[in-house]
């Protein structure tokens, strides 16, 4: 059992404790990861505009806008949890964490529903079987966009969804520890870095929603 060195920083360093610094450093690499995926989407869309569709034609914007709202709410409940433990309020912490978990899980649920509907309309990542039609259009009506559309859409939103799901699991762990009273106003590192990750995922979605659904 190696003692964590999170509680001493001889030189000024980053002026934040190790856990938080580590999470921030990790988030930098996450930024680059989504840069790769979103960048690829932007590049491909510039290169092959014909392979993509106008907003709302294939994708269900109202549903996703609602889902975006859900994720934003989950960010609020997360900061509420943090604010609670800052005041040493254990009950508040658990309550708000639980709320965040539920909202996060709900987001993933809605995304799964969305995927099922879209694949039903022939909007799939597989190039060979891509035959997306406009929302509500009759079977066999004109195919919209091209294989790149499906591939990029599912890769980007899928990896974001994976991040949310992982976040939900970590939240459950945090909640479980919170119930055992692992966090106090004096030691809330776990809650804070959990929050950092969660808000980052929210931040990525804000950009994804605009770039993928609205432009």
């Amino acid at each position: 059992m190696t003692p964590t060195t999170a509680d001493r920083a001889p030189m000024a360093g980053m002026k934040v404790y190790n856990l938080k610094l580590g999470m921030w450093v990790f988030l930098l690499s996450e930024v680059m990861f989504f840069t790769g995926l979103i960048g690829a989407y932007i590049i491909l869309r510039f290169a092959h505009p014909e392979a993509f569709a106008e907003p709302g034609v294939v994708l269900n914007v109202p549903l996703t806008a609602f889902n975006t709202f859900v994720l934003i709410c989950s960010s609020v409940t997360m900061v509420k949890a943090f604010a609670a433990i800052e005041q040493g309020d254990q009950q508040g912490l658990q309550k708000w964490l639980l709320a965040t978990i539920l909202l996060g899980a709900f987001f993933v649920g809605v995304q799964i529903v969305e995927y099922t509907i879209l694949t039903g309309e022939g909007f799939v990542p597989m190039a060979e079987s891509y035959h997306a039609i406009a929302r509500g259009a009759a079977e066999g009506s004109a195919v919209i966009g091209g294989p790149l559309y499906g591939a990029t859409f599912y890769t980007m939103t899928g990896f974001h969804g994976a991040h949310v799901s992982i976040g939900v699991l970590c939240l459950c762990f945090t909640w479980w520890r919170a119930r055992k009273g692992a966090y106090t106003a004096g030691s809330l590192g776990g809650v804070e870095i959990m929050g950092l990750y969660w808000h980052f995922v929210d931040l990525v979605w804000i950009l994804l929603f605009t770039i993928v659904y609205l432009i």
Binding site: A6, D7, M14, K15, V16, Y17, K20, L21, W24, V25, L27, L28, V31, M32, T35, G39, I42, I43, F46, A47, P55, G56, V61, P62, A65, T68, F69, I72, C73, S75, V76, M78, V79, K80, F82, A83, E86, A185, G186, S187, L188, G189, E192, G195, L196, H199, F200, D202, L203, I206, L207, F209, T210, I211, L214, I215
Partner: protein
């Protein structure tokens, strides 16, 4: 090691309000049928605004030491370089002449 201390609780609910409103505005704006370029610019502007709000208040960057948010900005230029250069490359390369 608590870092929250030293600043009073940030205006979380107000930020939430702004985020919600901006989301609605985005969706409405997206279907105004303006020229694509203006749509894109407007939407990206709003999205970045929201992202910055989340980073500043929910991720507390606003209350962190300067050096931390300087570090947090490090990857942004790289992202821009990659996308800009490759777009220029692929965009300006037609099929032959």
């Amino acid at each position: 090691m608590a870092t929250g201390e030293g600043h009073k609780a940030p205006p979380y609910m107000m930020v939430f309000g702004v985020l919600a409103v901006l989301t609605v505005l985005e969706v409405l704006f997206a279907f105004t049928g303006l020229p694509k370029i203006w749509l894109a610019l407007g939407l990206i502007a709003m999205a970045v605004w929201k992202a910055v709000l989340v980073a500043l208040y929910y991720m507390h960057l606003r209350f962190e030491p300067t050096r931390l948010w300087v570090m947090a900005l490090a990857p942004v230029p790289l992202a821009i370089i990659l996308v800009a250069v490759v777009i220029k490359e692929i965009f300006t390369t037609g099929s032959g002449f």
